[in-house]
Structures are given as C-alpha cells and as structure tokens.
Amino acid sequence: MCNFLEYKDTKVVYRRYASLFFVCGIGSGDNELIALEIIHRYVEVLDKYFGNVCELDLIFNFQKAYSILDELIIAGEMQESSKKSVLRVVTQADGVEEQENSDDLIGRLGGGRSG
C-alpha cells in the first residue's frame, strides 16, 4: 500500500505501527518520503524516551507526547532530526520539573510541621 493519499489540495502521509496510525498532512509540492521519516523519527524518540513505547504510555502521558512533538516539529517543519539532541532537551525539562516537585514536597512538609 502506498503511504501517501491525496486529499483535496493536500496529501496525507501515514504510517502504521501495530494498531497505531501516525498521520500527517502535507502540501501538494512537499517531499512525501521525508515526511514519512519524520513520523518514524518521532516514534523512535518516543520509544527511546518511554522505553519500548506503547499506546498506554501516550495516553497516560499525553502532555509528554505533545512536548516531545514540539521538540521535533515547529510550524510544520522538522526542527531537530537528531534523536540525541531532542532527548537532551526533553530530559533537561524533566530535570527542572523534578527539582520543582521535590521543592514542593519539602515546602509542604515544612508547612505541615509549622501548622
């Protein structure tokens, strides 16, 4: 089966991974194969980040799936094709979040004692 479908003035490029479909729409003059590989790169990054990613990971961590996508694509254009660079930025953000969470915890414990 062809991974490209023409729909009105756009083209739909899709790829199937087990039961999950990844779909994107591109312009009629855009390069189809390279769009197809953006999808694959996204799946690879998700896989590396979650460790053997499955549908449930994406459902329960939808905000993460979005923020990883933001690291890969902006304005419909490939932003960063290096897996390493993308993961570095994502883990850096995770680090900030963890730091905040532990600060929170300490804050709450401190608050509890005084209250």
Binding site: L5, E6, E80, S82, D94, V96
Partner: protein
C-alpha cells in the same frame, strides 16, 4: 521521566475502564462538574490548577466539548514553575481558537517568557506562538522572536525554535517581517556550526526567498556550498546521519531552495552543483534492506532529480535520472512507483522532448490499473502531462476506457483533463466531436458545466464541424440512457444546426423533435428551459412541426416554475405571430461566433494557491502550460515590486514637471534600494574613493580597510580575460564567521565575474585569505562590478565597494608611427565618435605640469604612450585596442593637452565605438581631474 499527577492518572484510568459510552460520559460529566465547582470556589494552589486543567485537556482530546478552564490556563502560564507553565501553554494551544479573546491576555505573559533569561521558558513561549500562530501574536512578538534568533548569546536549541517560529509568523502575517532588511543577517545563519540550526534557518529562508528572491540571492551560494560540504566533503557530525544518510532533511530543503531560483549562470557554482547531484544519483543506485535508509535516500534522490530537471532538462544528469525513473515506475515498492510517476510528470512538464518518456508509455498506461489509488492518480497526471499531437489518440482513448472503471473521486478531474487534451491535440474535427461526446455520455454526472459550454463554443465557432456534430449528437440522443449533459449539448446543437441535417432520411424534424423531447421529462428545470429555447428555434426553421411545438409552449404556460413559465409564455406569443411578421426570424437568427476566449477548463484545474505557502515548482500539464504559469507568476511578482513607480507615473503631468525640477536630487529613499535588493548600496568614505581611483590605473593595492578588515587586490589582464586575486585580512583577535563575498554585475551580457571556487565561510583571527575572481569582458560595459563582503563579528556587518574592473583594463597598447596615427585619427573623425572634455588638474609641488603622474595614469589605463607625435612635450598621445569576447576588438586613440597657466586640461578620445569613446573619456577624466 518526571513524576505524574496521581489524580489525572486515576481519571484517565477510570475513563478507560468505562465499558460503554454512557458510563464514560457520566464519569466525564461528574469530573467536569467537580472541576467547575472547584474553580468557582477559588483558592486553588498551582498544583491543583495544573491537575484540573490537565484533566480538561484530556477530556478535550477525547473529542468532548469543554468550555471551562480557559482563565485558569492563562493563570498557569504566568506561574514561575515549569510544569505548571507547560500545562498552561498546552491548554492554550489546544483549547483556544486563534481568535479567542483569552489569547489577548496571554500575549504579555508570552513576551515575558521570551525575554526571560531562562531557555526552558523561552522555548515554551516559542512553541506557543508557533502552535497558536494568531495574527495578534505575530504582530506583537515578531521582533522578540527575531531577537532570540540572532542574539549571539542564544543557545542553539533556542535559535532553532526561534527560526521556525518566525517562519510561522511570516506565513500568518508576512507584512510584520521586514524580510528584505533582515535578509543578509538571516542568511548568515545558514553558516552556523550546528546542522540543526542550519536546517531551521533554511526552512525560514526558503519561505522568505520565494517572495524576495533578490534580497535573499546570497542563499543560493550558501546552499550549494552546504550541499557540497555534506555530500562530497562529508562534513557533518554523526548525530545528523539518519540510517547512514547524512542530514536528509537538510539536503531536501537545500535542494528545494535551489529550485526556487533560476538556474545559476556562475560556472563555478554550476560545476559544484553538477558534481553534487551526480554523487547523489550514483550513491542511491543500490537500495539497501533497511526501509528507513531507502526512504531517506530516495527522499533526497527525488529532490535531486527535480533540481536537475529544473537546472537543465538537456543535461546528462537528466538522462541518468530518466533511466532511474524508468526503473522506479515498475518498482515493487508502492511509494517508489508513486514518486517515480510523479517525478516523470515533472520531467514531462519541463522537457523539450517527450521521447524518453514515450518509451515507457506502455508501463505508464498499465499503472492506470495499479492496485493503489494514489499510484493510479499519478499515472493519470503523467499521461495528461506527456500527451502531445502524436500520442493524443492513444492516450485519450486509454483515459476514456479507464474512465468507465475509474474511482469516483477521480472522475471529475479525469473528465476535465480528457476534455482539455481532446481540444488541445485534436487532429481532426471528427475525432474531437466523437471523443468529447463519448466522454460526456460515459462520465455523465462528473461532467462539469465548463465541459459542455466549451463544446458549444467550439462547434459554434467552427463551421465545418456543425453538420457533423448535429448528426452525431442526434445518434447519442436516440440511445435510451442519454445523460442530461448530453441532452443539453443536443438541445443546443440541434436547435442551432438541426436544419443542416433535416433533409437526410432518419434525421427529419419530427424525428429530431421526438428524440429530444422524449428526454425532457427526466430533466431538471434549467435543462427544460434550454429545450424550450431549442423549440422556438425550430418553430422558425421547421414549420412542419410547428403545431406540436406550440402545443408544448401552451402546456408549459401553466407550470409552477417561474422561469419555465415565463419562457413558455414569451415563446408561445412569438410562435403565434402571423407568418408575415419578421419578428420570429430576427429573434432566431443563427448565433454569431463567440469571441475567442481562454478555455475555462485549464483555469478550473489550476486553482490558486495560498500566498505564503511553499509554491509548487511545476504544475501538471505540458511544457507550454508550465511556461505560461511561470510567466503569470513572474508578472505578478513584477507588479508587486513596483507599486511606487506606478503611482508616480500615474499621477499625471503636473507632478512629472515637479519631478523634473527635482531631478538632480536623489529622491529614492535608501531603504528602498535595500528593499529591492537588486543593486547593493555602496559603502561610502573618502578613503574608499581614493583607493578605488588609484586601483583603476594600477594592478595592485589596497581596496578597503577599516579596524576589522583589510581588502587588497592583485590583478592581471590578458586580452578579454582577467584575474583578480582578492586578499581579505582579518585584523581582529576573533574569527570573522559567516564570511560571505559576492560580486554583483548589473549587465551580465557585457561582463562576467565569478569566483574560481566557493570561498570558505570563516576568516580566522589575524589571518589572510585569498580568493580568485575570473573576469571576462564580453562587450563594452560601463557598469562597474560591485563586491559585497559580509561577516559576523559580534554584530552582522556588510561592506559594498566597487571593484577596479573598468573597460580600459581590457585594453592593450598599440604602437603607431606619426603618419599611421594621424591617418587613423582622421579616419575616425569628430563627434559622435569623438568625446572631448576640459577639466581642472593639479600641478606638482614646483608648479609645473605633473607629467610623470599623467603618464602613469595613461599607461595605467593600458594605453601605449606614443612619444614624438605631438610637438608639445607636455601633451600625451596614446593608442590602444579593446578586447571583448563577443564584439571583437575596438580601437581607441587619445590625446591629453594640459595647460599650466589655466590649470586646465583638455582630453580628446576617439574610437570606432561611440560607447568606448564616451566611457574612456569618463574614466580618464575621473582619474586625472582634481577637485
């Protein structure tokens, strides 16, 4: 992975656990009611807000309508905590429509996050702008985003996001970005060390360059250079290889960018580009087993083929490409077949000859029956593009046959295309009528109005066709299942031309009437109206069936449809007039030919594209159609470029006299010169003129110098060729990066100047680099080539200076005796082939005429000084011949007569070419004159 929100996880688990839709809805309604209450009570801390907004987002993603949480999302954005901000931004980008009132509240928070000295927050803000991309954000934040992009302190991952966010802004509101003004600065970022940054910046520049090709012209060299470095020099970091293909995304972008410019004329660039494309084509000859590798490789390959086609369809590269494509269209991989056919259509759209493609016509026709619809579509477009007068019968026949079994979604487009081809490549009228009627009867519902209008137009305008058309359409009408479109064509044609066949057996008026009228009851009102018009025409030419026709009008006078009723009444009255009344005859006069008009079919096919979208580099259809398309785009961009001039010329005579009065002043704003990007604005300074003047009569010296950089020249000229070694010296203790030098030549017909190779883009600290510039004088020229040097040294700098390449550099001195000289001098004669001027000159320190100086200038302009010809020893007489590669040689003689007392000098130049005489006079005067 960061810790999750427990409440959210529970909520998602509950929803997933719901066995039926009703339970899911119940759970969601309960949660939303709870959240609404919590929000109403207020007093929530950041964590709680974040959790509730996240639940709302999840509900929204599931497809439920949500109408709460907008304000809370806005609040979360201004939180100082990353995780809260992130959820806030996500909610804003997902929940809010780009025209939402809430977005107005967000703009300031976004600006704060952009300005903050915290990259993680910068990124969140950039994502939000790019994802929402509202008009208001574009307007308010373009400057801030640009600043993040060009700031030397920005981290690479911020730069990447800023570049693409700016692209988003530009696509939304092109006018908020001063594209031409930012051009050089943005293009310089294509030299960044980080290929990720290069990729993003290239995407941005690709959009800008399509609208401002001149201002961004430098990006051409940058793109060629980068491709060369990736493909041939293998200059990339390992993290940018994708399944062994180096930076495929960047390669694809660069190859596409080059297709938005006309093929380069610079031989150096051309050679580098050819070599690069050659390597891309050969290296992808053998497919590997890895799908990803093949896809990435082919993505680059197809783009490279497109570029090769764009550059020159007759190049050996395209021959190679055609062989590859032939293999692709019978590949086992569906994607490859699809792209092979698509690229072949590109080739057909551009190529002078379709012969190489026709060899594969059989395979392509078979592809119409491919098992995949996308492939079938491509085959259809390709056949459409490769159709010409020789194969039109075959191709149209195949298309007609396929039409009957084609997918419904394809049919309307097919009908249009068949109609266009039939009209364009008809070899006989008979074939045209047969085919088009066959088309209408086969496609029925898919025949747009344009198609049958066009048939009527053509038949009306072609007298030879009318009788035949009437006969054939009548045959079609006799078939039991004639489609309504056919009834319309039949109604019109028989009404006009039915009388031409009425005397033949089987085509009598009564038979025509019965055939047509039997279809009437199955037709909609507009068709019936048309038939009524046919009948009134028949009343005029077929008196034998008048009573039947009047009968019909009579009945239609009582139908409910207003249009039908009115027609029937009017026609009834007309038909019932006495026989000697000429009214009917006049009304039913035969239709005059239609004024020649463009077929509505093609315009229907080529719908207009959005303005800032990446433009297609070609359209489906033959070569002519593509040329036409290019012309219209060109016209449109030309019109867009000169609105200023237009308004001034349109403003009438009164204004123009005022303009003349002010003609001496330079009224054009400096920014305008930059805007058009065509002619570089010269850097000014007293020393610059002095250096330049000196170099016009010497072979080497300093051309430019400031605190950062020194530019020197060594030149050699031989015949019509010249070589300039340009030395760039970095005087500071830091490298000059994104070092770019370009030469602007306004009259490339007369003189060409190209760098021998693509220069390196870094000039290390306190070092000198040399670039060779090859110059060829083709004809007499007066416009001096301009060198533009730009680089990053903290800020972005750019210098534009004239190069000492004047027409006299291509002179060669000639020795004459006295007699010979005067004979030639007289032969040339006076004006206009003589140019004379008197101007002030400086004397030497002792108050004498500075003879050595004058001689240096004359011989420096490559004249042979002829001594002993002029009796006055202070005078100088010279002779030279100009070498040009196109116009051959031109002789030139000169006489210089300085006068000590008056401190004036008379210069007389005679040449067989008026142009040369005037230009040499101008150049010599500029060198000798004193201010």
């Amino acid at each position: 992975m960061a810790a999750n929100m427990r409440g959210l996880t529970q909520f998602i688990a509950d929803i997933r656990g719901a066995r039926v839709r009703e339970l899911e809805e119940k759970r969601i309604n309960k949660e939303m009611a709870n959240i609404r209450k919590k929000f109403k009570d207020g007093n929530l801390d950041g964590y709680q807000k974040k959790k509730y907004v996240a639940k709302i987002i999840f509900t929204y993603i599931l497809g439920y309508k949500v109408d709460i949480g907008h304000l809370e999302a806005v609040n979360l954005i201004s939180s100082s905590k990353y995780s809260e901000k992130q959820i806030g931004y996500l909610a804003v980008t997902l929940l809010m429509h780009e025209n939402s009132d809430f977005l107005r509240l967000v703009v300031n928070s976004i600006r704060k996050d952009l300005d903050e000295n915290n990259e993680v927050h910068n990124c969140l803000a950039l994502h939000a702008i790019a994802n929402v991309g509202s008009s208001e954000m574009a307007e308010a934040l373009a400057e801030d985003v640009h600043r993040l992009l060009i700031s030397p302190t920005s981290m690479t991952f911020v730069k990447k996001k800023a570049a693409l966010t700016l692209l988003r802004i530009y696509r939304k509101r092109p006018e908020v970005i001063p594209a031409a003004e930012w051009a050089l600065r943005l293009v310089s970022l294509m030299d960044d060390q980080d290929l990720g940054v290069v990729l993003c910046v290239t995407s941005l520049i690709m959009a800008l360059a399509q609208d401002h090709p001149d201002a961004y012209a430098v990006c051409y060299t940058k793109a060629v250079d980068r491709l060369h470095r990736i493909v041939i020099e293998h200059e990339y970091s390992g993290i940018y290889t994708y399944y062994k293909v180096p930076a495929p995304w960047l390669q694809v972008k660069l190859l596409r960018l080059l297709q938005y410019y006309p093929p380069t004329e610079d031989t150096t660039l051309k050679n580098v580009l050819n070599e690069t494309l050659q390597i891309i084509m050969t290296s992808s000859a053998e497919p590997s087993r890895n799908v990803q590798h093949n896809n990435a490789q082919n993505a680059v390959l197809f783009e490279a083929i497109s570029l090769a086609i764009h550059l020159d369809t007759r190049s050996p590269l395209v021959d190679t490409a055609a062989v590859l494509l032939a293999r692709f269209i019978s590949s086992k991989e569906t994607n490859v077949r699809y792209l092979g056919l698509d690229t072949m259509a590109h080739l057909a759209a551009r190529s002078d000859t379709l012969e190489p493609l026709k060899k594969h016509q059989g395979t392509i026709i078979l592809s119409l029956r491919d098992k995949d619809i996308s492939v079938r579509r491509r085959a259809l477009d390709l056949l459409y593009s490769m159709c010409d007068i020789d194969n039109s019968e075959l191709i149209v026949g195949e298309l007609l046959r396929y039409l009957k079994v084609a997918d419904y979604v394809l049919r309307e487009e097919m009908v249009l295309k068949i109609a266009i081809l039939t009209e364009k490549y008809a070899c006989s009228y008979k074939w045209y009528v047969d085919t088009i009627l066959q088309l209408i009867s086969a496609a029925g519902d898919h025949v747009g109005e344009e198609v049958w209008y066009r048939v009527v137009q053509i038949v009306t305008n072609t007298e030879d066709l009318q009788e035949y058309a009437a006969r054939v359409v009548f045959e079609y009408l006799k078939t039991p299942s004639a489609h309504e479109s056919l009834v319309k064509v039949g109604g019109y044609i028989l009404g006009e031309y039915g009388h031409l066949i009425a005397n033949e057996p089987g085509y009598s008026p009564l038979e025509q009437f019965q055939a047509l009228h039997s279809k009437s009851q199955f037709c909609v009102a507009p068709t019936r109206s048309l038939l009524l018009s046919t009948y009134i025409k028949w009343v005029n030419v077929f008196p034998e069936i008048k009573s039947q026709l009047i009968n019909i009008f009579e009945r239609y006078r009582h139908v409910l449809d207003a249009e039908l009723q009115q027609r029937a009444c009017e026609y009834y009255a007309l038909a019932c007039l006495p026989d000697d009344n000429e009214m009917l005859q006049n009304v039913c006069e035969e239709m005059p030919p239609f004024p020649p008009r463009v077929s509505g079919l093609t315009s229907r096919l080529n719908r207009k594209m959005a303005d800032t979208e990446d433009k297609r580099t070609w359209i489906h259809g033959g070569r002519e159609m593509n040329l036409e398309q290019q012309m219209t785009t060109l016209m449109r961009s030309k019109q867009a470029e000169v609105p200023v001039n237009e308004s001034t010329t349109a403003s009438g005579a009164a204004d123009s006299t005022m303009f003349n009065a002010l003609a001496g002043l330079n009224l054009t704003m400096p920014s305008e010169a930059g805007e058009s990007g065509a002619i570089p604005r010269l850097t000014v300074g007293p020393s610059i003129d002095k250096w330049y003047k000196k170099l016009t009569y010497s072979a080497e010296g300093v051309l430019y110098e400031d605190v950062q950089i020194q530019i020197g020249i060594k030149s050699r000229f031989q015949g019509y060729l010249g070589q300039l070694a340009i030395y760039f010296g970095n005087k500071v203790s830091a490298p000059l990066t994104s070092f770019t030098s370009t030469v602007y030549v306004s009259d490339s017909e007369a003189i060409s100047a190209t760098f021998a190779k693509i220069p390196a883009n870094i000039l290390a600290s306190r070092t000198q680099s040399q670039q060779l510039l090859q110059v060829e004088c083709k004809k007499v020229f007066t416009a001096i080539p301009i060198l533009t040097v730009s680089f990053l040294a903290g800020a972005h700098q750019s210098i534009s200076i004239r190069l000492p390449i004047t027409v006299t550099k291509f002179f060669e001195g000639v020795k004459f005796g006295q007699a010979d000289f005067f004979e030639r001098w007289k032969l040339i004669g006076g004006s206009p082939r003589e140019s004379q001027v008197v101007f002030p000159i400086a004397l030497d320190a002792a108050g004498h005429i500075d003879l050595p100086h004058n001689r240096r200038i004359v011989s420096g302009n490559h004249f042979e000084i002829l001594d002993g010809i002029d009796p006055n020893p202070n005078n100088i007489v010279g002779a030279a011949v100009l070498h040009t590669s196109v116009d051959g040689k031109v002789g030139c003689l000169l006489r210089l007569e300085p006068n000590r007392e008056a401190k004036l000098c008379r210069l007389t130049v005679r040449s067989t070419s008026e142009e040369v005489a005037a230009e040499v006079q101008r150049l010599m005067e500029a060198a000798l004159r004193t201010e």
